[in-house]
């Protein structure tokens, strides 16, 4: 698993409480700056496509980063993470279409639904190891996809939730307006990333790494491995469902494709593209994949060949994600510089 371990090269030890607090402060600052930059974009560039692009980045980015909590931090390779993306989109869409709830209420309820689903499915899945965990999550994903297709009166079957998702104004926010949706998506993205960052850097986050590196040793020192895995499975599922909510708002609907295995596959691909050893890797991967996708579909209908060649470049050429590559390259340069200094 060595290629997939987050923070592997840094060899960082658990930071003391004081350090952690200041690190959290720094994260908060970065998040605030990031949010400010994102919000200012539509005012600097009048491109509607940029707005769309960032909304999609928010949806996929939250999804992919949450998957990295499982893959990179805990060593749980889930092939079925897309089920939460789909679950989020469908729960939210159905709540809005059928119940007349306000958007925040539907949002919270969606999180709850995903958490419950994650709890039930996770309780079964996290017992299994490695490739079998991957397969059983995939099976659950396909099961949910089958249910969505079959439960036609509720889900609309293969045609998805039709007729648009109503978006009543709340607190002066009108998500029917693309700019409002943009700012809301950015806010969800930044808050979601910030929360996941805090989870990753918390004692719980270090427990995850310990479970990943040596589950037996972790259980010797009194960690309930099953409960830890389940907890992160549920948390990751909730963040993934937020991605689904954003996507459902973007396309104003929910479609069975959102719960298909290909979404999980894209999530994994994004992680490999951006790299899983840094927190920001999946986000970088998201931006890369979306640019790649958008450019390739503009230029050719043989999208498969292009994407295939790019994947091969990353898998066989770089042999790691972009951020992993950058981080290692930077570390090497720094090492060289410091040895030069000491030798002179």
């Amino acid at each position: 698993m060595s290629e997939l371990q987050a923070d592997r090269s840094s060899g960082r030890v658990v930071a003391g409480a004081g350090q952690r607090r200041s690190a959290a402060g720094a994260d908060l600052l970065i998040a605030a700056i990031g949010f400010a930059v994102l919000v200012s974009l539509p005012f600097l560039f009048s491109s509607k496509a940029l707005v769309d692009f960032v909304i999609r980045c928010a949806a996929y980015g939250l999804f992919a980063t949450s998957l990295n909590l499982l893959v990179g931090y805990t060593g749980l390779i889930s092939f079925g993470h897309g089920m939460f993306f789909g679950l989020g989109a469908y729960s939210f869409g159905l709540l809005m279409q059928r119940t007349g709830l306000s958007i925040p209420a539907a949002f919270v309820l969606t999180l709850l639904i995903s958490a419950v689903a994650g709890l039930v499915i996770g309780a079964i899945c996290v017992r299994l190891k490695e490739i079998y965990f991957a397969f059983v999550t995939l099976a659950f994903q396909m099961l949910i996809h089958s249910v969505i297709l079959s439960w036609q009166p509720l889900t609309g079957g293969d045609q998805g939730l039709r007729g648009g998702i109503p978006r009543p104004v709340f607190l002066g926010i009108d998500l029917g307006n693309q700019l409002h949706l943009y700012i809301a998506s950015c806010a969800l993205l930044v808050v979601g990333l910030l929360l996941m960052r805090q989870i990753a850097q918390s004692p719980f986050g270090y427990t995850l790494r310990m479970v990943r590196d040596n589950a037996t040793r972790a259980s010797f020192i009194g960690i309930n491995v099953w409960r830890v895995k389940l907890a992160v499975f549920v948390l990751a599922g909730m963040f993934a469902s937020v991605g689904g909510v954003i996507m459902s708002l973007f396309v104003s609907g929910a479609y069975p494709e959102f719960a298909y295995w290909t979404i999980s596959g894209e999530g994994i691909f994004i992680n490999m593209l951006g790299g899983v050893t840094t927190f920001i890797g999946p986000m970088v991967g998201t931006v890369l994949l979306l640019i790649l996708n958008d450019t390739a579909t503009r230029l050719t209908e043989h999208y498969g060949i292009i994407l295939g060649v790019v994947i091969l470049f990353f898998a066989l050429g770089l042999r790691k994600g972009l951020m992993d590559f950058v981080v290692e390259w930077y570390a090497e340069r720094r090492d060289k510089a410091s040895t030069r200094e000491t030798s002179t």
Binding site: V251, G253, E301, H302
Partner: protein
């Protein structure tokens, strides 16, 4: 050089070169895709469709149908004097991609209207984009009735230029009932793909079959999944029910697989088969052992309507693309004819103005039952296209005799159907 090309070269050549060119210049082209381009005098029409995967043929033959008319139109001066530039993109059959591409085509590429070559859920996703952006949108592949029939779905700027299952089913029900009565076929089975189109069309067919032949009874229903590779379990189930007749809304490769596999069980000697999607060249030319006498609705067939215009169009298409047109081809070609006629009437290529004149517009068209088709004003969907049923033979002309459907009857029953659905 991309698939946005307007040239008439064979699509294969273009694609290969585009691919190679892209491989070479990939990095350069990543440059900010959202930089808006200056608008040329040409009018750009965006077209999200499916060009990859199992139904890639939907996209390629749709594009062919569009291009053959666009080239004619451009040679004759274009849409209200502006040459058309088609921008065709592959959604890979994913609704979120279809929505994204449709938005991008309008917002970034400066397309002034959308021809939506998406099927099923993709067309609903594009419909939402059209609702949001207010851009003129013509759906050319989605046969799902609710897309335009349901007032909750309908929007003033979107039109459907495609068959509707309800029309096929009324014509088919009438045709099948006559045969059922003549041959005493009382016990029926159905076998249709388990998705909206398959379910709706089958339910409607059964409704009208029973309407015209009340003593018909459905004794078995089977619902294979879309793109299911193996139908053995379905076939044996139908055989065990021992029906006298079978209705199927399977299409394309699924239909030919079903026929090939059912042939092994000699199914076609044991019952009359009504397969609404059989009489399409995609299926007819591909099946090697086509059983004689399958009843089918027409999809595209150059001998029906039996006019010189239709035959000429089919031959021209075949000469150009080395294959016969599909049902999607004529629907897409008709969309361009309609837009052209609307532009003439409005004296402009402006989408808003076209949307105003399109409702109720009748256009001369080789695929019309009487040489014309009409964009019905009340629900923005085309009517009056050639519709009929006949029996197939394994060689050209494949369907020697097509019994034309009666549009008057279709309208009557369709109106009742809409009422029953709460659409009207």
């Amino acid at each position: 050089m991309t698939i946005e090309s307007k040239t008439g070269e064979s699509k294969m050549g273009i694609n290969r070169r585009a691919t190679l060119a892209l491989m070479g210049a990939g990095a350069m082209t990543v440059a900010a895709p959202w930089v808006a381009r200056a608008q040329a005098k040409a009018i750009k029409i965006g077209m999200p469709t499916i060009l990859s995967g199992r139904v890639a043929q939907l996209g390629t033959s749709s594009r062919n149908g569009v291009m053959i008319e666009v080239e004619k139109l451009n040679a004759a001066g274009g849409l209200a004097g502006r040459p058309i530039e088609m921008v065709v993109r592959d959604s890979k059959g994913q609704p979120q991609e279809a929505a994204r591409i449709a938005r991008e085509l309008v917002n970034t590429d400066g397309c002034e209207m959308i021809i939506d070559g998406e099927a099923s859920s993709g067309s609903f996703a594009v419909q939402e984009v059209a609702r949001d952006l207010g851009v003129l949108c013509v759906h050319t592949c989605s046969e799902a009735s609710s897309l335009t029939a349901d007032p909750k779905q309908r929007i003033p700027n979107a039109f459907r230029c495609a068959r509707q299952g309800i029309h096929d089913s009324i014509a088919g029900g009438n045709y099948a009932a006559a045969i059922a009565k003549a041959k005493g076929l009382k016990k029926w089975a159905t076998c249709s793909p388990d998705y909206a189109y398959g379910r709706d069309t089958t339910a409607e067919f059964v409704t009208y079959l029973k309407h015209f032949a009340p003593d018909v009874e459905i004794i078995s229903e089977t619902w294979p999944k879309l793109f299911q590779p193996d139908y053995t379990e379905v076939i044996t189930r139908i055989l065990q029910a021992k029906p006298q007749a079978l209705y199927s809304a399977l299409w394309g490769g699924d239909l030919t697989s079903f026929i090939d596999q059912a042939n092994l069980y000699a199914m076609f000697t044991q019952m009359e088969v009504f397969a609404v999607n059989m009489a399409d060249y995609t299926a007819l030319t591909v099946v090697k052992n086509l059983p004689k006498g399958i009843h089918s609705g027409n999809r595209y067939i150059k001998t029906f309507p039996a006019t010189a215009e239709n035959a000429a169009w089919g031959d021209a298409y075949k000469a150009k693309y080395k294959e016969y047109p599909t049902n999607w081809s004529w629907q897409n070609a008709t969309a361009i004819m309609l837009l052209n006629e609307a532009a003439k009437k409005a004296g402009s290529a402006d989408g808003k103005k076209l949307a105003e004149v399109l409702p109720g517009l009748t256009v001369k068209c080789p695929f019309g039952a009487d040489g014309t088709v009409t964009m019905r004003a009340e629900d923005h969907t085309i009517v009056g296209y050639a519709i009929g049923w006949g029996t197939t033979i394994p060689t050209e002309p494949y369907v020697p005799e097509v019994k034309a459907g009666d549009w008057k009857q279709i309208f009557e029953l369709e109106a009742q159907w809409k009422k029953s659905k709460g659409y009207a």
